[in-house]
Symmetry: C2
Subunit: 472 residues, 2 copies
Amino acid sequence: MRALTEVSVINVGLERFAGPLKTLGVPVVQLQWQPPAAGDAALGQALARLTNHPRVEAANATAFERYLNANPVLEGVGEAARDIPGMGGNKRVLLHSGPPARWDAMCGPQRGALIGAVLFEGWAENPEQAERLLAEGGIELDSCNHRNAVGPMAGVISPSMPVWRVRETRGGGLTFSNFNEGLGRVLRFGANGADVLARLKWMRDTLAPVLSKTFDASGPIELKPLLAQALHMGDEGHNRNVACTSLLFRKLATAAAEHRAADEATLAEVFRFIAGNDHFFLNISMAACKAMLNAAAGVDASSMVTVMARNGVDFGIQISAFPGRWFEAAANYVEGLYFPGYGPDDAARDLGDSAITETAGIGGFAMAAAPAIVQFVGGTSDDALNNSLLMRRITLGANSGFTLPMLNFAGTPAGIDIRRVVDTGILPIINTGIAHKAAGVGQIGAGLVRAPAGCFLKALAALAERVGEDDA
Amino acid sequence: MRALTEVSVINVGLERFAGPLKTLGVPVVQLQWQPPAAGDAALGQALARLTNHPRVEAANATAFERYLNANPVLEGVGEAARDIPGMGGNKRVLLHSGPPARWDAMCGPQRGALIGAVLFEGWAENPEQAERLLAEGGIELDSCNHRNAVGPMAGVISPSMPVWRVRETRGGGLTFSNFNEGLGRVLRFGANGADVLARLKWMRDTLAPVLSKTFDASGPIELKPLLAQALHMGDEGHNRNVACTSLLFRKLATAAAEHRAADEATLAEVFRFIAGNDHFFLNISMAACKAMLNAAAGVDASSMVTVMARNGVDFGIQISAFPGRWFEAAANYVEGLYFPGYGPDDAARDLGDSAITETAGIGGFAMAAAPAIVQFVGGTSDDALNNSLLMRRITLGANSGFTLPMLNFAGTPAGIDIRRVVDTGILPIINTGIAHKAAGVGQIGAGLVRAPAGCFLKALAALAERVGEDDA
């Protein structure tokens, strides 16, 4: 935060007015301000109508309470074809991250990942064949979020892939995510070479059976206490998952040995794979967040955001009042730190379903839990703290199940309210990785990105229409 | 920190002078002040002579640099009789925490632990016999610190116990600690029943061989990077060790499976034991700190503290100028949070060698790394931050190998300077467990305790004498 000195000027509006004063040595603070509803008169009226609207308030209280009460547990390991609706019966279907996208408009990493998935499933013999098949519409493509699934980055899930099964035990159903492959050349960044496919096969044929046997013998794992503990250990559940991964590993390794889930050589392979990937837990965190937000979806007139997801071209949100309906705008570019040899010109736009973590109040919203993340995404530890404080201004409340030690155990700000986003112009902060724009290069950095304003403006207009109609 | 309002008075000295002003509604801030050197004129002169003394300054620079450069690695598992000097040859010798203590003046938990160790070694058949043997001087007793060893709480090490072997690779030797037994009824809190002895036997006969085989096959583990990472995950290395334990477990479980250190049933037992004890790493952290401080010991005229240790009766320190020489004062009682059913009347005095962590700049000095610890020891997260800031005032510098995310990655305050302690009256803050005063009840709480001033005053007098003599 900037401190005001004794003699100073606050400049509201055009920044150039501040110039002459600065030249005279007068301290000037530029107020970060923009008119509500982006200065649009019709939207301004819509915002005014929805602000403090009793139906919206009551709906949000219900949606937020359902989110708070949701209880996701990691039930175990499934298979996409068997568990995810509409993926069985030998259908040629692939899921991807973000709002629905057409093949010819997709970003590089997502195309690369889909080609890899076609090869993995054996539907084509080489990348050219796979690309042709995809371009000709020979494969059904759908958004993960349409099937209660989430996937980081390209987010591609194919029928034979193993998936995490997360059950919401207070009446919700199952949510799913794929398995995390680690860093480097991996499918989720669009790589699809022999090494990538071999790893996916090992994950399907060795890792998944061992984990499946382990879970079947040892029983489900409650995810909220695990996430809560990790928030006290420097994780924020999106871009820092080392604590959650380590805590999960302790449980899994012990249970795997105890229940003889495999011979020692196989156990060693499995342990090495999980222990070698600090982001192993990310996909589980995402499925847990999806479960909590599914619980909040479908409350008529609620302005609470229940999905934020990106396909590398567009950023889409859903709100509780309109389950399944997307409000989209062009995805932003991530601002952050690049790995050596890469820069902003190499970056894809913001990509993946992982913003479901911020939607659920962790990730960028819980940055105060993870000050060490600034070494990865840039900024200072005060920025981390201030980001959590800033998100309070656009959220419905705090989640006392996820507390922030640095803020003396205040709950994470949670339940993004599109009205507050439009009113304040403060956009949700997302911690995320940066993918190379070309398929298969992989992660080239990490940083912060904001959700684009357009999604929230469109959702607000739609909600105002709905609430207005009903009132009429 | 208390903010000054526009019109206010700072009152120095007797607090009652502030009373009338407060009555008049004038804001008064009472300065927490005490005269340097506890108001003792001779000590004041000694302090003046040592302050900015070129020989002391140069010696401290050397000692502090040696501490910073020390590189402890966890080499593996040994046996006290084989590895610790003077413990072999079937000698009846037991080590204990803190400065040397005589049997008849020892605290309850330490007596209980020594009785248990006599039974564990088979030198007596029942507790009464063991007690008689100890009372009659039939067992040689010595301080762990005299043998490059450290042990938490009662700190008892007997010849057949397994020990951690930590090697300082920049020219230092080995340091040792015993294995952590977990919480509840354990030897280090003075318990010595059949369950306690059975666990110790299992640790010796099963756990230690498996870990020994694992280390022999997989090689040593660098401890400073592990501790540094844990400080970014909410540990402070004394009273919070969950991150370090989890990170170590990841390495050990993978290596144990990879090198087939045991059959699966035994591996499962070992994994369950380690994964079930968030403090498993504490003893390793202590041996690492001992190694770093050993490197700093023995620099003539240095006023840097190299040992702080308590035997439940006395608190002893050593400074670099006088290796092996104790300066003692009565140990304080810990202020903190008690487990249900216990209170201050049940507590033993401050106990154990674990204050070696604070001596090395972690533990209470690194509380800013572990704001979540206040849920265990009391206070607010601001207190955690402020404790680290306060310790800057009595230390020689910062350890950039151990950084504090909440303080924007400043190094931990390290290298306690007895001159600054005596000058400011600020006493080292220690995070610690609270033992029941009776043998064998176990831990009854946790909190903060200060080192007693007397140790530092005595050490200062001795150093002034030495430096004065040499100058004459």
